[in-house]
């Protein structure tokens, strides 16, 4: 019987984009158990709601995370709009969809690059980020910022995109789609990449439900759940079906995200073709009262916003349940039985966004 040793993993590690700490109980290079430890960048953003005007809080909500920032701002605005019974205009809803999908494309390309770096394929990392730079240029041309968009407000959006600009965005994205397909071919068909991904970290469908997996982590195990099917913003008027794989290993999770890239480009193309004319915001008067739950789909999974308001200009409670917080227990289920060199791949395959997790 060999004695188990405990190896600390993180918070500073060359493959982790954000600080998460795992204590791995290891016997002879095989992991038996992992114990997580988070809390390095807890900022207490949920309590800021009590001192900031509810309309100004959008700026804080966007900065909960850097990668999924637009969808945080949009979910907060949707929650306040539902509590105050405000209906936004159609054009604002379509613009929000376009920016959400651009945010999803850039997030998945970032993840592909970091994932390739995780198993040592640096040139693939650089190729993915080269395409991502072009997407960030599109975002900067429409909103003014590369990562923090600053485009959502309670009652609509803050800036408009002209119809010519929308057409040119669609043409550019269809041109980039060819380069994305070249990279996807390397991820899915190359033999060296497959030997590191296939049958590593298998999560069965019942485990995915019982341990609370969300997003691509759950969809790669056969759970067909995607919050965009509920039809918030303008998604109800676009053709959309969740992408599901059955294998449940790291290769399946990569394939789900690669197919979602194509799906996002298609959703943007549909939204631009159906875009109505009109104004982009409505006037907001009064203060919110009541409570509500809002669930939207971030690139990493389902985010839940719970809002409780009591009629003053400060909200009483804001609770954000981010997707990585829900995906950490499935990670602990995947770890036992894998070898020590697979641990960075398994951690990266749930797409950890720790600044969201700890707000």
């Amino acid at each position: 019987m060999t004695k188990p040793t405990i190896i600390p993993f993180g918070p500073q590690h060359p493959v982790f984009p954000e600080p998460i700490h795992l204590d791995l109980v290891v016997e002879d290079e095989k992991v038996i158990q992992g114990i997580p430890s988070i809390g390095f960048i807890h900022r207490g953003l949920e309590r800021l709601v009590e001192v900031k005007d509810f309309q100004e809080y959008v700026y804080v909500a966007e900065r909960i995370c850097g990668i999924c920032s637009f969808i945080h701002g949009m979910s907060y605005c949707q929650a306040v709009e539902q509590v105050m019974n405000i209906t936004i205009t159609e054009r604002a809803a379509y613009l929000r969809v376009i920016w959400s999908e651009l945010s999803r494309i850039h997030s998945h390309l970032l993840w592909l690059g970091l994932f390739a770096d995780g198993f040592g394929f640096e040139s693939l990392f650089m190729q993915s980020w080269r395409i991502r730079e072009k997407i960030l240029d599109i975002i900067e041309a429409t909103t003014g910022g590369r990562v923090i968009f600053g485009s959502c407000k309670v009652g609509g959006v803050r800036r408009d995109i002209t119809n010519d600009a929308l057409k040119s965005i669609v043409d550019q994205l269809l041109a980039y789609q060819k380069e994305i397909h070249e990279i996807s071919a390397v991820f899915t068909k190359d033999k060296t990449v497959q030997s590191r991904l296939v049958d590593v970290g298998v999560l069965s469908e019942t485990d995915a439900i019982q341990w609370g997996a969300v997003g691509p982590t759950a969809r790669a195990s056969g759970v067909a759940e995607d919050q965009r099917s509920s039809g918030y913003a303008a998604y109800g008027q676009l053709e959309f079906a969740p992408i599901v794989e059955q294998a449940g290993d790291s290769h399946a999770r990569t394939v789900v995200r690669l197919k979602e890239l194509d799906q996002s480009i298609d959703l943007i193309r549909q939204a631009v073709s159906k875009m109505p004319e009109g104004t982009i915001d409505v006037k907001v008067t009064g203060f919110p009262t009541g409570e509500c739950f809002i669930r939207t789909e971030q690139p990493r999974g389902e985010v839940v916003y719970y809002l409780k308001a009591n009629g003053t200009k400060f909200l009483q409670r804001l609770r954000v349940r981010t997707p990585t917080f829900a995906n950490i227990p499935p990670l602990l289920k995947m770890l036992p039985g894998c070898s020590l060199s697979d641990v960075p791949i398994l951690v990266l395959t749930i797409d950890p966004c720790i600044s969201c997790t700890e707000r």
Binding site: E225, R319, R321
Partner: protein, 112 residues
Amino acid sequence: MSEDLNIDQLQEITRTKFDEGYRLVQIGCTTISTEQFEMNYSFNRVDQFINYQTKISKEVSIPSISNIYPNAFLYENEIHDLFGIQFPGLAIDFNGHFYKTAIPNPFRGDQK
């Protein structure tokens, strides 16, 4: 949208939801006043979303549901660190060291 529940019914309702294949979405807590907290337990299956709410006083401890849903330990540790509510029976108990905060239980409402 939210159903009220008694704290004694929590274990059997959770067990029923687990057997029917529901996923635990989140466990949340709100400070209502200086004497009361309000807990939210949310479950989801396909497109059905159910939320249970219960009000508890500040000194009560709630039995943990991590023996039924294994991923509940993360939510209960966070609530324990931020609000000071005890959850006896946690599967993995961090004993108050989950988040490193400057003041203990910052969301409890005792201090500003």
